[in-house]
């Protein structure tokens, strides 16, 4: 078998394998992608909430992507409390200004970062939330102050589409 013939045979087989591999990949991808969120789930990826009836000091809980989201309209005192905390005192240092761009409104996932329970509103030693499962205390900015939770309650992507409506996600 001459050098040339071997190379041509190898090229044919290599080309066949390569083209075949493309087909295998193209076939496998839909089987994997079908497990990704479908169009109806993605359509519910963001939700709009009417907060016009929320008075200062009140919190509502809404469902977003299957999880609870706390929306609290904070009072002046609560905002002041949150802003006055020294970062060194925090397990997960985060400035309140970074968590609540509009200081009057606190929007965060109502899921304890320890093991996922839903903390209770207006409870705990820091005037924020208290998680009854393992005793985590959160402050008026939703930051972890005492207890086993490692991080602050997560702030999702949100924006005010108008003065009365928050779009989450």
């Amino acid at each position: 078998m001459s050098e040339k013939k071997t190379n041509r045979r190898d090229f044919l087989f290599t080309a066949t394998y390569a083209v075949g591999a493309v087909g295998v990949g193209a076939t496998v991808w839909p089987m994997i992608d079908q497990m990704n969120p479908d169009a109806s789930v993605k359509a519910l990826a963001s939700t709009e909430v009417d907060v016009s009836s929320l008075t200062p000091g009140k919190t509502i809980t809404v469902l977003w992507r299957g999880k609870p989201v706390f929306i609290r309209r904070r009072t002046e005192d609560e905002i002041a409390d949150a802003r006055s905390v020294k970062l060194d005192d925090l397990k997960d240092p985060e400035k309140d200004e970074d968590r609540a761009k509009n200081p009057e409104w606190l929007v965060m996932l109502g899921v304890c970062t320890h093991l996922g329970c839903v903390p209770l509103n207006d409870k705990g030693d820091y005037n924020g939330w208290f998680c009854p499962c393992h005793g985590s205390h959160y402050d008026t900015s939703g930051r972890i102050r005492k207890g086993p939770a490692p991080t602050n309650m997560e702030v999702p992507k949100y924006e005010f589409v108008n003065a009365n409506t928050i779009k989450i996600g």
Binding site: L12, T16, V19, G20, A43
Partner: protein, 259 residues
């Protein structure tokens, strides 16, 4: 090879016949050009948008479209309204939601994620309001009728006086293309019935074609993707087949007396 072709032709003949057996009425449907037919068929966006208008203004008062969501109106491959337009359409309908914190159901403006609102609560309500006949849901209607788009297109233009000797019951109409010729739906279309927002002249034929095109899309929203992917898949397979064929010849050349 000869035998294979013999059998293949027999099979095709036998397969083709049962498929047409349901045109038992032996009526030739009205023919027109459908932009979505053929290997490279695509939907005419204008027809889809006009068809949606016909559906909304003429049919939706009785016929539900329950498997469609408002967001489908702005998705690729369909009428492709802008997202703004689709949102506005959705918001023009009242959707039942709830229960609220008082335990009651309430209505709110529709969102993109909502399914099309149904004209009646359920099938029985629809029957009660239509003399016992259920106006079928239209989501997959085109696929649910053997004659497909040609049948729907013809039926919409097929209303005429019954032939001599045929008397119809109260509330029953004669239609040339309906299976059995008797239909409880009165003629839904007439020239100029609606005013198309794009200015097209709304003749019965135009509306029939547009709404049927729309119904083809509601039944097969991924038709264009399917055609495009199909073309690529078959071209790919042909290329790979050729490569494998030559590989096979190369490998088998090592065998002295291949039968």
């Amino acid at each position: 090879m000869k035998n294979f072709l013999r059998i293949l032709s027999l099979v095709i003949v036998f397969l083709a016949t049962p498929l047409s057996s349901y045109a038992a009425e032996k009526v030739e449907y009205l023919k027109t050009d459908w932009s979505f037919k053929g290997l490279f068929g695509k939907f005419d966006r204008g027809a889809l948008q006009r068809g949606y208008q016909v559906y909304t203004e003429v049919c939706a008062s009785c016929h539900s479209m329950k498997y469609l969501s408002y967001r489908n109106l702005s998705e690729k491959g369909g009428p492709e309204f802008t997202e703004q337009q689709a949102k506005a359409i959705a918001a023009s309908f009242d959707v039942t939601d709830g229960p609220n914190s008082d335990g009651e159901m309430f209505t709110r403006p529709g969102k993109l994620s909502d399914k099309f609102v149904m004209p009646y609560e359920n099938v029985k309500a629809a029957q009660a309001a239509n003399g016992g006949a259920y106006p079928p849901d239209m989501s997959v209607l085109v696929k649910a009728r053997g004659g497909g788009v040609d049948y729907i297109y013809s039926l919409l233009q097929g209303y005429e006086d019954p032939p001599v000797g045929i008397t119809l019951d109260e509330g029953v109409h004669y239609n040339k293309y309906m299976y059995g010729n008797k239909i409880k739906m009165s003629n839904p279309l007439s020239d100029g019935l609606i005013e198309y927002s794009d200015g097209t002249n709304a003749t019965v034929e135009q509306m029939s074609k547009d709404v049927t095109t729309f119904l083809m899309w509601t039944a097969e929203p991924h038709l264009e993707t399917r055609h495009q992917m199909g073309f690529k898949a078959i071209v790919y397979l042909i290329i790979l087949t050729i490569l494998v064929y030559f590989s096979m010849k190369r490998i088998w050349s090592r065998v002295e007396t291949k039968v």
